[in-house]
Symmetry: C2
């Protein structure tokens, strides 16, 4: 396994910086990793490193081209997501870059919180990915998937006590996926909050909490579905 | 791994026959396996064998003390479940027998269809099990769990297109588990029907269908949660 390399890329005029980590040996696949609203953090780097340890090339996306300090991230995120064309282009720039980095590897995408929302948006946009996996991602969208638009298999790992994703969003999401004809797996963890994969959540925050079991089991589920889906391609 | 041994046991005056299979070496745990409404079948034996291959002692329960031929199974099952005291006693007889067979092993219970309903009933009844795992089991009950009654961790693996378990049952179940303070994981598989773990479902039946991915992924999820839960005890 390598250390992280920074990879400059761009979305139109905006300069972005990805973080790439390679496995020892030939990658089993190339995985785009979409971070939380805070952009690249040690928690997300740890997940990319775990992918490399499992034999995958992992490439962490850059949402903004700069690092947010504190709550300004919410403004940047809202601005980015306000126009679905801009939002999808920003996400696609990461996949295009990953295609250049690993042209012969099968691709997948995973994401955390806003990154989970991002990978679902890529799926709705018809991205050619083996799977997308969302960890405590937002499920709602202004652009529900069209019939047969989704190519990727979908895995959503969701804390049922996540205040940002109430149960009516869950049911709407299932309905959206069925209408689109998607292949989806949805894992709900009782009593588990937002951000359950991050062992060091921001203090003084009732919305997020690490959950060791949900973190372990969701990661294993993702690796299992990824391996199966790559075998089947 | 051994071959199956038959183990006579009883529930009151009713003679029952369990099917036991042992792993090679010291068992990592002892697992009660509750079959479908059809009682022991090759599909359930295959799952018990897979548990033994994974290092567990597995003991297949006997619901009726005899083998149903065809639709008579539904009558027998309805009669057995009509009185929760009788139903729970029948299930407890299996756990008691397993305690005698493997007194020093930590215990868990898994079940398929009616067997999934059975293991959830055992959890509601406060059985001292590391986990219970239901595969395409019925979720409704006449005796919802009391607050703090459930000791076992709960895993439900559910086909979202199972006509026997509509989405309102799913939501009621989540509410029941939360009210009881249970630790639960719920996996829903989009478009997947009842009986998804059985590669040879009865022909001419629109309710059931094998799903290779749901079968594989649910099994891996169960083994992962079981291993984690045994480590934590």
């Amino acid at each position: 396994m390598s250390e992280f390399e920074t990879v400059p890329y761009s979305d139109g005029d905006l300069a972005l910086t990805g973080h790439l980590i390679r496995p020892t040996g030939e990658p089993r696949g190339a995985i785009a990793v979409f971070p939380t609203i805070m952009n690249v953090t040690p928690a997300v780097e740890a997940k990319a490193r775990a992918l490399a340890e499992a034999g995958y090339l992992a490439f962490i996306a850059d949402f903004y081209g700069r690092t947010p300090e504190g709550p300004i991230a919410f403004e940047w995120a809202d601005a980015l997501r306000a126009d679905v064309g801009i939002w999808r282009a920003r996400l696609r720039a990461t996949l295009d870059t990953l295609d250049g980095l690993a042209p012969d590897s099968p691709k997948a995408a995973i994401g955390f919180c806003m990154g989970g929302q991002a990978v679902l948006e890529l799926a709705r946009d018809g991205a050619d990915l083996a799977i997308v996996a969302s960890f405590h991602g937002l499920l709602d969208t202004q652009t529900p998937a069209e019939r047969d638009a989704i190519k990727a298999r979908i895995l959503v790992c969701h804390g049922d006590a996540d205040p940002l994703v109430p149960r009516d969003h869950v049911l709407e999401f299932w309905q959206e996926m069925d209408r689109a004809g998607a292949d989806w797996h949805f894992h709900a963890y009782g009593g588990v909050k937002h951000g359950f994969t991050n062992p060091s959540p921001p203090p003084g925050n009732d919305v997020v909490a690490w959950d060791r079991s949900a973190d372990r089991q969701s990661w294993a589920a993702m690796l299992g579905l990824l391996e199966e889906s790559l075998e089947d391609r």
